[in-house]
């Protein structure tokens, strides 16, 4: 889903395109009005991460209210941070937050918070405090 005005968007970065897409399904159940994007797999769909997919996903969900990026493993974080660094627009870069939180649990918690209209800081903190919520 494209960026939703006034709402924080989410990007799920995984080495597996299936995990990232499944997360959009799962988190989307409780956040139907929130922009969620999958950035999973390499450009050819193989297992790995793609700088371009992350950059495109960030652009797709950004509405000006911020983007929270969740990653599966350390190398996904490295890719996401590099993609963030390469964003042309300083303002956009400043509102993209890569969160070190458990991917699935953080994604659901962040999605619910974004759906409820939480701002960037609230969505980040929901992701971080995800584990054990349910």
């Amino acid at each position: 889903m494209a960026g939703v005005a006034g709402r924080v968007g989410l990007v799920f970065v995984s080495h597996s395109s299936k995990i990232a897409e499944g997360l959009v399904e799962l988190a989307g159940q409780m956040a139907q009005g929130t922009a969620l994007a999958a950035a999973g797999g390499m450009d050819d769909g193989g297992i790995g991460t793609s700088f371009d997919r992350v950059g495109e996903a960030i652009a797709a969900v950004d509405s000006g209210s911020g983007v929270v990026v969740l990653c599966d493993l350390g190398s996904a974080i490295l890719t996401a941070e590099t993609a963030r660094d390469f964003l042309d627009d300083d303002d956009v870069r400043d509102r993209v937050v890569i969160v070190d939180a458990p991917l699935v649990e953080g994604a659901v918690a962040a999605a619910v918070e974004a759906e409820g209209g939480g701002d960037l800081a609230a969505v980040v903190s929901a992701a971080r405090s995800a584990i054990g919520a349910f």
């Binding site: 159940q29 409780m30 659901v108 918690a109 619910v112 918070e113 919520a133 349910f134």
Partner: protein, 212 residues
């Protein structure tokens, strides 16, 4: 005036009907503070029970019928309500195993075992904004009704009425278990879907007994 297997089958068929009738209501409640599938989940589960009732042997007890519900819900519901109600019906079946007819004491034992099963499975406490908040008042009311010397139908009616009040009383609560716990304060003002479906199911149990 004890409750026999006919009563159990009427309860189960009535449950399937009421769940199908209230499907959209339960979906809507679950959409507010969950993932919007509670009505669909229960409708899928009880619809799957119906054809299996025909396979119940002629000498089946109420417990046998409840056990059938348990295993079917567990296999087909697909959401938290599956293992929760599944465990409830399973423990209820265990509590009345072997009884061809249920007297008031057995009815209370059945309801208590069902509630205990839900708590065992889900570990929710009273006030966590879950189906437990319908079941615990129901069990308490049923026990009081039994102590007051009321019959099976009146015990179930008391249980259903208390469950309905319990479901309404979940509205002001913040959830501490289940998906709604993700919402924090935003869950306030919404009724818990599982508490609501529990009240519906208990009302059907009472209605099925009222005709006896």
């Amino acid at each position: 005036m004890t409750l026999n297997t006919d009563w159990a089958v009427r309860w189960i068929k009535g449950s399937a009907a009421v769940v199908s009738e209230h499907r959209v209501e339960l979906i809507t409640l679950d959409r507010e503070i969950g993932d919007g599938d509670h009505g669909e989940n229960l409708d899928r589960g009880f619809s799957a029970v119906l054809p299996k009732l025909d396979d119940l042997p002629a000498d089946a007890t109420p417990g046998d019928a409840l056990k059938l519900v348990a295993t079917t819900l567990i296999s087909t519901v697909g959401g938290a309500a599956g293992p929760l109600y599944g465990t409830a019906y399973l423990k209820a079946a265990g509590a009345v195993a072997g009884h061809a007819e249920l007297d008031g004491e057995a009815v209370v034992a059945m309801l208590t075992a069902a509630r205990d099963g839900i708590v065992l499975r889900g570990k929710a406490e009273a006030g966590d904004k879950t189906m437990v908040d319908a079941w615990t008042p129901a069990v308490d009311a049923a026990s009081s009704a039994l102590a007051d010397g009321l019959g099976e139908a009146a015990i179930l009616d008391a249980a259903a009425t208390a469950a309905e009040a319990g479901a309404r009383a979940t509205e002001p609560l913040v959830a501490r278990k289940g998906r709604a716990s993700y919402l924090g304060e935003r869950a306030i003002g919404h009724r818990d879907p599982g508490a609501q479906s529990s009240a519906l199911l208990l009302r059907v149990a009472a209605d099925a007994a009222a005709g006896v």
